[in-house]
């Protein structure tokens, strides 16, 4: 063993021994009693896709929820969904900017409304905000074909893979190549920032285009990664525009029925497009959701249907139901209101813990 090895061992030991450890008894006891991990029984079916980016939907320790049955208000305001898009941005109203811009409800005369349960249900969690992400793909006969997730990370160290990769040279450039599961491959181009593309066959795409179609990468001082997509090859389109998503963006939902019945359904609304999680390993086709273009899953038999569409400039909704038809029907039935109306309708109170989630860092 050489001298530097010894010096490193000594230095690390010295620093470790100097470390003070704050046993936050209050934190420890706070962690334990709130001790429920909320479970949605159909989550495993839905979560088939979480492979390309480190996104998780996790429940909150504190979940406030109420049913319309419990204390239903006298009336349910049924604003048109088209009006919801013009709702002032939460930031403009001094509201937590990471909350959805609009909140889901059903028409007062919708028979599902009586059973509907609303909740602040958790957070979308990215491993970090230090990345921008987009989805590109082709639309052929209304189907999303060859979808690929394009991400730019501020630092190579942000990216971790479960499986070791190898190196490939494409058009004279060396990429790391990793298999990330469910038939999906990722190419990583290391540099000052790190560019990543994930899909069923990103190598063919990159070989045809001469590179990952990213330009204008900037690291804004307030966090995140901004980039633009270069002109895409003929036939390819931007499906989800490049954006940085906050590490902990609250999501809200509206649920009725149960998985044990054929009538269950759920609407989830948040700042994240579920296409970022779902598009690359699943099949989707375009659908019309009250005049807005959305995406419906093409699920294998006996799995749920999913519809994803944008409902405000930075807010997306996802419906989940027993079948694709029911998911689309639910999407078309949802109305969007502001948070106060939603809270009043379902007697929901924003958990105090959400007040902490105001930073994107």
């Amino acid at each position: 063993m050489n001298d530097l090895d010894e010096r490193l061992r000594g230095a690390f030991t010295a620093r470790a021994e100097s470390t003070t450890v704050d046993y936050r008894i209050d934190v420890g006891s706070t962690l334990t009693p709130s001790a429920t991990v909320p479970s949605r029984s159909w989550t495993p079916t839905v979560a088939i896709a979480a492979v390309t980016v480190a996104i998780m939907v996790v429940g909150l320790a504190l979940i406030s929820r109420s049913t319309a049955e419990d204390e239903a208000p006298a009336t349910v305001p049924p604003p048109a969904s088209t009006a919801a898009v013009t709702t002032p941005l939460p930031a403009d109203l001094g509201i937590n900017p990471l909350l959805p811009e609009v909140f889901p409800t059903l028409a007062a005369d919708d028979p599902r409304q009586a059973q509907a349960t609303a909740a602040y249900s958790g957070f979308f969690i990215f491993a970090s905000t230090q990345a921008g992400r987009a989805i590109i793909g082709r639309i052929e006969s209304g189907r999303l074909v060859d979808p690929m997730a394009v991400s730019v990370y501020a630092d190579a160290d942000e990216i971790a893979f479960d499986l070791a990769g190898d190196q490939v040279v494409i058009a004279g450039t060396t990429y790391e190549r990793h298999y990330v599961g469910t038939g999906q491959w990722t190419l990583v181009l290391r540099g000052e920032t790190d560019t990543v593309i994930t899909g069923a066959d990103p190598e063919t795409f990159v070989a045809a285009t001469g590179g990952i179609p990213v330009t204008g990468v900037t690291l804004p001082p307030d966090g995140g990664v901004s980039f633009s997509l270069t002109p895409l090859p003929v036939g390819y389109e931007v499906i989800v525009e490049p954006a940085t998503y906050p590490t902990r963006s609250p999501i809200v939902n509206l649920t009725f029925g149960s998985e044990a019945t054929d009538s269950f359904g759920q609407v989830t609304v948040g700042r994240l497009s579920d296409l970022l999680r779902q598009a690359t390993p699943s099949s989707f086709h375009q659908v019309d959701v009250n005049g807005t273009s959305g995406w419906a899953s093409e699920p294998p038999a006996r799995t749920v249907g999913i519809v994803i569409w944008r409902v405000a400039p930075a807010t997306w909704a996802t419906t989940i139901a027993a079948t694709p038809t029911e998911a689309l029907d639910l999407a078309r039935s949802v109305r969007f209101v502001d948070e106060a109306t939603w809270q009043a309708t379902y007697n929901v109170v924003r958990p105090e813990s959400f007040a902490l989630q105001t930073s994107t860092d």
């Binding site: 530097l4 010295a14 620093r15 450890v21 962690l31 001790a35 991990v37 979940i63 971790a160």
Partner: protein, 161 residues
């Protein structure tokens, strides 16, 4: 009306894990970030993440360590972007209550290494992990561990000389 969704209860095992592992995690994060204050926060955040996934973890201790490395990496990178590390480097770490007699120069150099190089050194020389486990911890191939360590040691030798 409020209610809490039914779920998997976190029992005494979590508390036991917290008591058993916190010390080592804070030390690990301290070595990876150079900041005792950040290390405390990182270790506790790691426990929060483990709590969230408690029901699905087969080896919470190993997961804790990986999460701690990832959080330390995020902290180091964001810290770097704020240039705080540069300042800390120049001012000999105002945060630290380090009692590291004779090791200040070397630790300052280690703190200045790219994160993965630093993590590989900590995993090798403090955790005494084999290369395969270092690769899992750092999130790279075993072969990359060698090259990261080699580059780190070369930089340190050059700086020290």
């Amino acid at each position: 009306m409020f209610s809490v969704e039914t779920g998997v209860s976190v029992d005494d095992d979590f508390e036991r894990l917290y008591r058993n592992e916190l010390d080592g995690l804070v030390r690990l994060a301290h070595l990876l970030t150079g900041s005792n204050v950040a290390a405390d926060d990182i270790a506790h955040e790691a426990f929060l993440k483990v709590r969230d996934r408690w029901s699905s973890l087969e080896n919470p201790g190993a997961y804790l360590r990986v999460v701690t490395v990832n959080l330390s990496r995020n902290w180091s990178r964001s810290d770097r972007r704020r240039s705080a590390r540069e300042q800390r480097f120049a001012t000999a770490d105002s945060d630290a209550a380090d009692d590291v007699d004779g090791h200040e120069e070397l630790l300052a150099l280690v703190d200045h290494l790219p994160f993965r190089q630093r993590a590989v050194l900590v995993a090798r020389y403090w955790l005494d992990l084999p290369e395969s486990e270092i690769a899992e911890l750092v999130g790279c191939r075993p072969g990359t561990v060698k090259s990261l360590a080699s580059r780190a040691l070369r930089i340190l030798r050059e700086e020290l000389s």
